[in-house]
Amino acid sequence: MNGMINIMRRELTGYFATPVAYVFLIIFLVMTGIFTFYLGNFYERGFADLDPFFRFHPWLYLFLIPAISMRLWAEERRSGTIELLFTLPLTTCQAVLGKFLAAWFFIGLALLLTLPMWITVNYLGAPDNGVILAAYLGSWLMAGGFLAIGSCMSALTRNQVVAFILSIVVCFLFLLSGLPMVMNLFSGWAPQIFLDGIASLSFLKHFADISKGVIDSRDLVYFVLVIGFWLLANVLILDMKKAD
């Protein structure tokens, strides 16, 4: 536990010691603003809710989260600090969790900084704040899913660009797995149960469910399982190939 917290603290110090944190926070806030007000027609719609704000989160995360996660392990490999890290009395699990949680809290911070949006919508009308809270939770959970995939991809390579692209591709597949574009690839030859399986993997569908304000335990369990699965894969990859 202490080992994990120590790693977490180091990671967060690292974020704020470089421009990474500030650039990410600014870009995230600017982009959410643009999406909400221009593409989402926040004012023109005439509804007091944050749907136009949350609707674009999956697409924002698709590019921004791999940008955060790509350095998690690739940078350790490139600079050789992985050798330092794994000769400290720490388990691989503690290191993986510590790094993941640091990045996840950091994204949580980015989400918190969008609170003025919530305040604005309350000023303009009377939104259902329960729905908004659920959507925030859903968005953060989904971010965790993207992040776990990104962390695992980052462990595969010493090259951050490769990690970035791999993460986007895998995240994209998870994001779209319920949409016709992906389903058409399988329908017609794959058994129905397989199709259902693929459809139920979609980040979009589970996020949409939560952000409607319906907190179904299945959606929560889904994201927790996704995070758990990719972090476990992350640990195994590191244990199998630490050296190169």
Partner: protein, 307 residues
Amino acid sequence: MIEAKSLCKSYGSLKAVDDLSFTVEDGQVLGFLGPNGAGKSTTMKMLTGFLTPTSGTALINGIDVVDSSVAARKNIGYLPEGAPSYGEMTVLQFMLFVARARLIDKNDVVSSVERVIEKLNLTEVKHQPIETLSKGFKRRVGLAQAIIHDPQILILDEPTDGLDPNQKREVRRLIRAMAKDKIIIISTHILEEVAALCNRVMIIANGKLLADDSPQGLIGRSRYHNAVSLVVESAEKVASSLSELPQVARAELREGELTLFPSGEGGLFEAVTAAVSENQWQVSALRLEVGRLDEVFHTITRPEASA
């Protein structure tokens, strides 16, 4: 104490370390010597628990490094090759991180960080990001993180590589100061370093242990050991006349310097000086050779010998 038991590490068909067994006792400063790619670093990475051996294992103070890696690591301080560290952190932040990761008691973290910063003369740069430091400072930061928890076993992979002569001397002084009743393992391909620091040398090439001896023992294996070299006028004539001494096995004339190799009878130096004064040769230099480590190293590790 370190006990390595048949350590093997292969990458595909390449055997980086091939059945290496040895024991290191407390108080020993062991030098791993070998050409690049000999398996020195791989061996160290297995001892520190970073790499899992393909087969075999090592006991660190009795703790199995494969089965109880985390427990074994607590006894070790390690400086990886190139002294990697988190460049964006300041020296102080980095030391605090390592101190906590090394499970130093919460109340002692700050004092042990201060002590190690003092010891390695890092005070003036302690608030600077590590990536802005010179190579010498970075290496000292690497050494500081390795010794912060006062480990019983210190493993240093090329601790002086890339440093200037003054920095090398400084790092060696630090290592010597720590050597008392610890185990220190150093890898290097700088021969003078071994003679300067170690009381035991292992020569490794192609993953195999080729020699395990004290530096003096290794030097004693040199054919130059106890040879006599002299610079003298009309050297060829002198060479042929000295060759007839029973103490001289062979005489070699190279670049104006005449070297006489001992035959094993002893008293070569005395016999040569006696001959010089008797014949009144004009000698401008005369010395007794102790042996040449580079020549021993070459003889043991040259490719023809292992092919």
